[in-house]
């Protein structure tokens, strides 16, 4: 800023120079400092969590960690191979269910229903569903699938876990599809309809491909979120110390492994929980950054 000492000619009776001692300026400085401090406090947990995960978990990285089974209590060595595979399988099941349903629902909202009671009901329902706590999704799938044993008389299973996660992903995918399709300029739809395309062809050949990037971004983010979820899995997919035995048996997952091992009184298990956290967090952060990178180009 201007330095009053060197240009005294300007400081007349009513100077326009900044007076730092004015109460107004003092308050402004105080609040600016406070806001900056708050921003630092908000960012701090991320830095601390990442630092500990990298220090405590990253140092354990090895091929055997990624490929071996967890050790029995009291034993040493071992890895988390089954949990990594399990997380991939359960997330894949969830994605395979949630993507078609969510994209279909989003298409309905954006393309078929401009207004109307049913559409606002679906929108309201999507908002409500996204507010349902994840543990309730677990309770729901437990009551619907695990307790009733509807799949081949199996109770806890990978598929039950996948369904629970898909319920969680569904509202996000519907919303991103709906919003992504709304970004497509109306003129493009007119153009397709103007050359005689049916609604089906217009959506599948013009609008969906145009909105692909925002929709894909939302889907990747929702998968990343689901992959880290624990609450819906602890009594649907349960856990297994073995390699996955199929879609209808209990299955290990990284998040449940962290939960189970963190509260065990053995140092080996706790160390494995940190190592698993490292793998899980890295996987999720990579997906997040990848999705944002793709999404940053999505100027339609």
């Amino acid at each position: 800023m201007a330095s009053p000492a060197r240009r005294p000619s300007l400081s007349n009776i009513r100077s326009l120079h900044r007076k730092p001692k004015l109460p107004r300026n003092r308050w402004n400085g105080f609040f600016t400092f406070l806001a900056g401090l708050f921003a630092v406090i908000v960012v701090l947990p991320l830095v601390l969590v990442l630092a500990y995960v990298v220090i405590k978990g990253g140092s354990m990285m090895s091929l055997s960690l990624l490929t071996e089974l967890p050790p029995a209590p009291g034993m040493t060595g071992g890895g988390i191979g089954n949990a990594i595979l399990g997380t991939l399988i359960v997330s894949l099941i969830a994605a395979l269910i949630a993507i078609p349903v969510g994209v279909g629902g989003g298409i309905y909202l954006a393309e078929y229903s401009k207004s109307g009671a049913f559409a606002s009901f679906v929108r309201f329902g999507t908002n409500v569903l996204s507010g349902v706590p994840s543990i309730i999704c677990g309770v729901f799938v437990y009551g619907l699938i695990v307790a009733t044993r509807i799949f081949f008389d199996q109770s806890y299973s990978a598929i039950a876990g996948g369904i629970a996660l898909s319920v969680l992903m569904l509202p996000t995918i519907i919303k991103t599809t709906d919003e992504g399709l709304k970004l497509v300029p109306q003129e493009l739809r007119w153009g397709a309809i103007g050359v005689g395309a049916s609604k089906f062809v217009t959506i599948t050949h013009i609008t969906l491909p145009t909105a692909f990037k925002p929709i894909a971004t939302g889907i990747v983010l929702s998968i990343a979120r689901a992959a880290g979820e624990t609450a819906p899995l602890i009594f649907t997919a349960l856990f297994s110390p073995f390699w996955p035995e199929g879609l209808f048996s209990p299955i290990a997952s990284m998040s449940v492994l962290i939960y189970n091992f963190a509260i065990m009184p053995y140092d080996v298990q706790i160390a494995l929980a940190w190592a698993t956290s490292f793998v899980l967090v890295m996987m999720i952060l990579v997906m997040n950054i990848f999705a944002r990178y793709v999404g940053s180009f999505n100027k339609i």
């Binding site: 629902g105 908002n127 543990i135 319920v167 609604k199 624990t230 609450a231 998040s255 997040n288």
Partner: protein, 318 residues
């Protein structure tokens, strides 16, 4: 070439039946998929209600006000968990709202260059991506040991208050509240930032134009204009805090003994479910379902209220 003989108009270029069928069935399919959302909601409600039927008839509304939870004597009351849910979420909100809104202001004003703001914004979003269970692990082994001396000091100096009357011994409500703050900060910050960004530039210019100082403009013009979005975000965060499970379960201590002290172990509905549901049977399952129903009702009310507030307040300010 395409036939253009002008015999009968609408039989020319007749769309084949298969194409019309595809068009129709796609519409029906999309409608069905959309209605699945409603179906799932109803199914969740019915599953939880059916599961809690026997507990509802056995304990009635007394379930909500008694704090006995004894699988041996088959007595269940969820007051401790309900109290814990409400107290942890509201206290965490009280801490997180000023932090989040302050950060949002910092990110929308030009205190630091755009690049720096973008990096902080990205970090806040990445914080939201950290799984709850990893935060729980961190809370157990890093945050809580670090916090213990502070809490001890609180107990020593303010122990005459019922809220700090017990000796902190590891897991408890206070660390649970702090980890909840970490978990809801990203939502509050993100929504507050979006609401602040939507305040028209003209409004800001008008405030500066009549000589308002920067924080004068923020407090008297910009924040009031963004209040609907911020309130909505705060309500959403409240709903999220109530339902948040893993990190809280790992650090709250899972005790069903009621205590006013924030330094004592406690319970929330979500953590009780996570902790007990797997091994429960009989009336305990039903009681847990009853508690789940209460949690669902609480979050449902909060969420509907959030939507209603956003709609009401935004009418006033735009």
């Amino acid at each position: 070439m395409i036939q253009t003989t002008k015999t009968d108009l609408f039989r020319l270029r007749r769309r084949p039946l298969s194409e019309k069928l595809a068009d129709q069935s796609f519409r029906v399919l999309a409608t069905c998929l959309a209605s699945l959302v409603g179906l799932i909601l109803v199914a969740i409600l019915i599953t939880v209600l059916l599961g809690s039927r026997s507990a509802m008839s056995a304990y009635g509304l007394g379930f909500l006000t008694t704090s006995n939870w004894n699988p041996v004597t088959n007595e269940y009351g969820a007051f401790t968990a309900i109290y814990g849910t409400i107290v942890t979420s509201i206290l965490s909100l009280l801490i997180a709202v000023p932090l989040g809104v302050g950060t949002a202001i910092f990110l929308t004003e030009n205190f630091i260059p755009v690049k720096g703001r973008q990096i902080i914004g990205l970090m806040v979003e990445l914080l939201a991506a950290i799984p709850s269970v990893v935060l729980g692990l961190w809370a157990i082994f890093v945050m809580e040991p670090f916090l213990r001396p502070v809490l001890n000091g609180l107990h020593a100096s303010l122990g005459w208050l019922p809220f700090f009357s017990t000796q902190p011994e590891g897991p408890g409500m206070a660390p649970a509240i702090l980890i909840l703050v970490v978990m809801i900060l990203p939502i509050i910050t993100a929504i507050a930032r979006d609401s602040l960004l939507q305040v028209p530039v003209e409004l800001r210019q008008a405030a500066y134009g009549i000589g308002a100082s920067r924080w004068g403009a923020i407090f008297q013009v910009i924040l009031p204009a963004a209040i609907s979005g911020i309130t909505g975000g705060v309500m959403l965060a409240l709903g999220r805090a109530m339902g948040e499970t893993m990190a809280v379960t790992m650090i709250i201590g899972n005790s069903n003994n009621f205590s006013l002290s924030l330094l004592a172990p406690g319970n929330t509905i979500a953590s009780m479910l996570a902790n007990q549901f797997g091994e429960a049977d009989g009336n305990q399952v039903s009681s847990l379902m009853y508690a789940a129903f209460v949690l669902m009702l609480l979050t449902l009310i909060i969420n509907v209220l959030a939507q209603w507030i956003v709609r009401r307040l935004s009418l006033r300010y735009t």
